[in-house]
Assembly symmetry: C2
Homo-oligomer: 536 residues x 2
Amino acid sequence: MLHESIFPHTFLQILEYKSQNVSTADVFFPSSSFFFPSSDLLPAMDGDTKTMTFLQEVVDILLAYIVESFDRETKVIDFHYPNELLQMNNWELQDEPATLDDILISCRATLKYAIKTAHPRYFNQLSTGLDMVGLAADWLTSTANTNMFTYEVAPVFVLLEYVSLKKMREIIGWPDGRGDGIFSPGGAISNMYAMLLARFKMFPEVKEKGMSSVPRLVAFTSEHSHFSIKKGAAALGIGTESVICIKADERGDLETYCNNNTTGALRAALGFVLVQGFVPFFVSATAGTTVYGAFDPLIAISDICKKYNIWMHVDGAWGGSLLMSRRHRWKLDGVERANSVTWNPHKMMSVPLQCSALLVREEGLMQNCNQMHACYLFQQDKHYDLSYDTGDKALQCGRHVDIFKLWLMWRAKGTIGFEAQIDKCLELSEYLYNKIKDREGYEMVFDGKPQHTNVCFWYLPPGIRYMEDKEEKKKHLHKVAPVIKARMMEYGTTMVSYQPQGDKVNFFRMVISNPAATFQDIDFLIEEIERLGQDL
Amino acid sequence: MLHESIFPHTFLQILEYKSQNVSTADVFFPSSSFFFPSSDLLPAMDGDTKTMTFLQEVVDILLAYIVESFDRETKVIDFHYPNELLQMNNWELQDEPATLDDILISCRATLKYAIKTAHPRYFNQLSTGLDMVGLAADWLTSTANTNMFTYEVAPVFVLLEYVSLKKMREIIGWPDGRGDGIFSPGGAISNMYAMLLARFKMFPEVKEKGMSSVPRLVAFTSEHSHFSIKKGAAALGIGTESVICIKADERGDLETYCNNNTTGALRAALGFVLVQGFVPFFVSATAGTTVYGAFDPLIAISDICKKYNIWMHVDGAWGGSLLMSRRHRWKLDGVERANSVTWNPHKMMSVPLQCSALLVREEGLMQNCNQMHACYLFQQDKHYDLSYDTGDKALQCGRHVDIFKLWLMWRAKGTIGFEAQIDKCLELSEYLYNKIKDREGYEMVFDGKPQHTNVCFWYLPPGIRYMEDKEEKKKHLHKVAPVIKARMMEYGTTMVSYQPQGDKVNFFRMVISNPAATFQDIDFLIEEIERLGQDL
């Protein structure tokens, strides 16, 4: 049978190996028989068969990797220090071509040392998991290999972006889903767009004349907000000192301050800025802070923004997806009053990286703010409706197609599928919270049930659990999470993040966005932390 | 045989259909038998087989599309107007999940109406073609689904970025490949990085204090430069009016002006700016302009930049790849004197979209300029060498893995393979130039052999070829290219760009970066322009 000779390792064989407990690593590391060079592939004359054989071989490697990634018996990571890893393979670029056999070996080696981000016990980032329909969509996107700047070169993708942005605006609650938006390369850039639009809305002359034509502008955000707000301010020439970070309460949100009309920290900061003759132009409320997962009170903030005529942005990069959940969307009540919203489907909705949207309430503003009328791209005498040439409203020229994976996943799951997935992650985090809140050796970083899936806690090994000297205890505790994390990576069993925050020493920040995780994986995490940390 | 039952349409069958002249469209549009929902796929219990079957089905669709894309008998585009296309499929997002059968139908429909950017007769953009190793690498990248911010989550990719950037800097000519750099989401963002670095280098206080702390800054570039220079200036708060566009000569470069020490337009503009008390901080020389493919004289410009202590950036997004060619790299002589260089491997090197690098001569500057020390991501007490956590030097937080496709292609071709590919594209453009420069009905937009693969020309249909009234002739001629282009798209036979430039009416800009193109495809293009335009 022709199949057999051409595909020595099909995925069905992988499954057989799996059932026989043969490591696929042993199966996948023999040298193959692709001694021909890549110049034999398409577009080479009669390159069809060789191309298909080669691509199928790569796909077999990927399929094996996928199956392994979901297998709890597999390591999340085969960790090596940078200098070791540099020695473990020949990664250098050469003048001469390699054979396709070498290319397959490189693919296997790359995956061998990669992090299995789909693994049910990978909790390290806000973006975890691997959705199979999303993956298929990303493979199709690569194959279509086009660019979002015009309808001419990306007709379907431009329409799907239009359809999806409209749907997201409907979910936010803007009438008939009207407004504008764009998919950008990540939440930091989406937030930067928002700041750029806010400035332009207030002072359109800034586009031509720069910051020297406008008064000193000041932005406001929570001290727990994402660093991209300051990064954006630095880039846009506003300066990090003009970003005022409002003190959050113990749970990481601005609740206490904003709801108190006389002493609210945001109001006070605004007053202070106005007295100095500066111009408040932008408030970025956070819906789901990075570390605590806290939600700022959007209604209270919107009242303040309205009163002072300030652009209200909601950074929902992490928490925006809760809008898909009937059970949890109340946490974003008031989001419909925002002027702009960042929402990253690549986080809580598990869309493959990257997929970040900026949604804007006012139509036409992005275009006016960013357009430069490049005549080689946005010809005005084209034969189709030019409103679909959306490229000139972007900061980028070429723009990667990030929409198809979201659209296809949405199609496959329906809104209710996303909702179920999100609700499940929140249930898992509640399970974790309930499990450790009174458990010996654990201390929660903030009181009460987390609003998002962020569970922040210290693990105190027996040796320091009853230390009396508080400073000494703190000093020791600070070192615990980094050591446990390093051990996790060396054993390769799980990965979870840690960090200090303000005067709080290093604590674990457990986040759950991985649809593969189960209650058992949460149990495992706790056991593993205790196993790896008990001697510290 | 199990294979047969599970894969009704394997790629070998596609090849058989092809040899029997059966349209794969007919084969690939029957309804499949995936009536189960995506929730049956991994991570569902025992989801392995269903997942693999589904992904293999998607791969078969993609493989069929790839083979079709390289087939000259296939249309480049199956064009429909936006409103038509919106009606042709159900693109709306629903609350309920679809079956995987519907997902496969959506994949097929998306590809049916996509532009075949790999097609040998697709010349529409600076990024054309589809490299099979690059594609394989992009599929692997999607499967690995990780993020460039830390070594922790992308160990191999971070190392490959390090290796590749170093190699690119060596090719630029910086001693031992020292310096810095980053892969960014496109040339526009790379150029914006350069401007940001130039400003920070001169006035580091701008990061904290914003533009109000610095004098008025002025940037210089050619009137033929890419619009992203102005877009960047608008975003960074410098303002488009502070970008002075230097008049280029008839061939689109700054040669005449820069080499004349007393009257050079750049020097004159600099003098004018200095007299007004403004601060020149940035010159962006273009290596390969977008429309004409012209190369600014880098040595002359570097002399000026050195004298006035101005950051010299080279926007080689389009032309930078000529550094890989021993025959053509002289066009970038002096690039090693630049402070920063934009170089997009996704253009002339045909790496799948997106892959753009900014290379920087000074080490450490990017980090100082952009870092915000987010403690949840860049913990200082990790157990490995932190210099590999490169995320804080980026404007983005999460950053897509763009390196693997370049690295794997480089591996597969070697430097000499890229060189051969680039040289061939330049040969094809010379062939086109020689073919039409004296051909009846053609007029070249600028005299002499193009420096890059851009061949800019008017086609004059017989009806207007001998018009005496020059204004009338111009008016007619302006309409010719758009009509021919619209017809190309409606027939779907080829795609090439057109635009006006300054006082020059619409002309064709033929660019060749597609490794699939041959001399016969150039002949075809000319015949097609004449066929579609003769009645105009």
